[in-house]
Symmetry: C2
Subunit: 408 residues, 2 copies
Amino acid sequence: MSTTDLRAHRAADAVLTLTRGGEPLAGREVRLEQTRHKFLFGCTGFEFDALANGDSKAVERDTALAEHWEGLFNFATLPFYWGRFEPERGRPATERLLNTARWFAERGHPVKGHPLAWHTVTADWLLDLDNEAIAAAQVDRIKREMTDFEGVIDMWDVINEVVIMPIFDKYDNGITRLCRDIGRIPMVRMVFDAAREANPGAVLLLNDFDMSSAYECLIEGVLEAGIRIDALGLQSHMHQGYWGEEKTLAILDRFARYGLPIHFTETTIVSGAIMPPEIEDLNDHQVDSWPTTPEGEARQADEIERHYTTLLSHPSVEAMTYWGMSDGGWLGAPGGFLRADGSPKPSYERLHRLVNDEWGTRTTVATDAEGRVRFNGFLGDYTVTCEDTGAAFTLDTAGQADLTLDLA
Amino acid sequence: MSTTDLRAHRAADAVLTLTRGGEPLAGREVRLEQTRHKFLFGCTGFEFDALANGDSKAVERDTALAEHWEGLFNFATLPFYWGRFEPERGRPATERLLNTARWFAERGHPVKGHPLAWHTVTADWLLDLDNEAIAAAQVDRIKREMTDFEGVIDMWDVINEVVIMPIFDKYDNGITRLCRDIGRIPMVRMVFDAAREANPGAVLLLNDFDMSSAYECLIEGVLEAGIRIDALGLQSHMHQGYWGEEKTLAILDRFARYGLPIHFTETTIVSGAIMPPEIEDLNDHQVDSWPTTPEGEARQADEIERHYTTLLSHPSVEAMTYWGMSDGGWLGAPGGFLRADGSPKPSYERLHRLVNDEWGTRTTVATDAEGRVRFNGFLGDYTVTCEDTGAAFTLDTAGQADLTLDLA
């Protein structure tokens, strides 16, 4: 897949006509810069809690992390695991998380909440309730969070891992009990109805790690039942090795059939040893130390480039969220773009070049005699400046775009 | 699982009061015989085509096969693979198959047709049609067969292996094309609507080999879409080894959640070498010779006893169909109860004893002073005879049954 192919659906051929006071700005040097990609280059933002709440004990480190984060990403995912967000019933950790969400929103980065319903890391106190009360608490929880965060977070992984939810057998929990009782589709309907009611304008996702036909069957059942899904979330933790183009594209083809936007919601590619293939539940792989290695970092950089290129090559993909900016996150894996000491790996430099240079625009060009500039640019937001005046514009759809901008 | 546990839902405590001309038959010897189990002990009946059509070239062998068949079974499955049933469009092999079905029906054995819609062994000529025409041909085919066989075959595997149907990639075929186009649930709805319309009294099954959560998700979607399924078919070809009680019961528990009767539709347990575990599609295992062995036969007999006992222990299971009475069927596997030379294996003797002796009733008892006989018998049809008079009765539900029978 070459970048040329990507551009067919990711970029526009723009003709800008630049004027000042109605007169063409002919034969002038202008600066063109893309300020934001339309494609959602996402990452978790869990580590920004202290910085955003003004009580960081390592401001320099956290600030550097933030700079690195914004060097690659324009879209954040924040954690709403019920068991951590509201360990004691009635005392949700709304304020700190709202501050973190605002930190991203103020910088123009859309934020997604993850997840509103899930059987893992759910609230222990649900176990004291009967199923009817669990359902009521789940609905109330969704409405509360979506209302409290409305305008700051308007995109949600409403429900996570429904395929396994009613047969999850690692430990007893209220959500599995409820889902086993009422069934998967009524469960999805219940949480989506609550979410839609709470924030009708929000983008609502169904998210799963199960890439088998089970997830297809679930999606088909949900859609046949008339439940509106705004985007399909596909997890892709690759602790056991990079999927490769063929597998990735085959999965995309299968899940693109439903005509819904696809978000790669949780991607990890490690720069150290690969987890053995026989491990079925990644949580079963507990190691004392999982170091990043030079060979692993070189491989990770290549795989990052291949993976992002593959995803952008498929028109259905609207978002890609990387799971963990820094090493030492989930399972202690060396899955980050930054090492534990905060230094960028080759994968960071590689993706930075792709996002900002190869797929981004930062250039100085000359207008023609009619004040025109022609360029091919990835969809998103731009500024054009000429001397001390400028204008902002957006390329929103692939194909041709003709714009006239007056740089007053 | 002991036979005692089975009897809680498989048997009734019967009190028969026997009279003649209204007077109690006191202190008399009577013969009690179960003539038919309510549980459907099924087997394929593909090999009876020649015998039933009166053109067998080996009448003695075929008659012996029939006697062996009836020694174990009371329920037949007959083949409706579209590609073989109607290789040339408009020339279905209705007559011979109808004769075979009647051969079973006349002996009191219900017959199931398998399958009406499937992507494998489907008609090649579908490939010449567009998807709309394939759908119309599929609907017509269902209505034709169900009408032609009504009263002889009133139970159908309406559609087979829907989980994989739209993503089946071994070869191009019309059914996969259609299913990929319209989706799994509209496909199921289409074929079930046609089947229900053609024979409203028929028992209609959804059948699959996929025992993962994919089949659960499909079932939930189908039921949520309001499609009525009469029974769930679970395949269980065990060429790679007997499942064991734990796996079998876990599967039963998962699929019993829907409150539907469960049919084990296709069971094979081999009496020779076990197919390697890494083979995913059993069709990929092609061997020159796959012999039955003494050790394998001993193991098979034990596993047959364990498997039937496990299935009967679960109240949701209404039927168990063994796939191939004799060795040398699908894949050439030694999966039969009979060897290729027609001789019975230990598994035959074992199941014969279970069905007819341990779970059946053939006994002579004495009535008490009020003409009563008490016994615990598996659900099904019975005769009771005293000297040269007799009566037939049925035990249809577990628990207590009080019957008064006049042996005129």
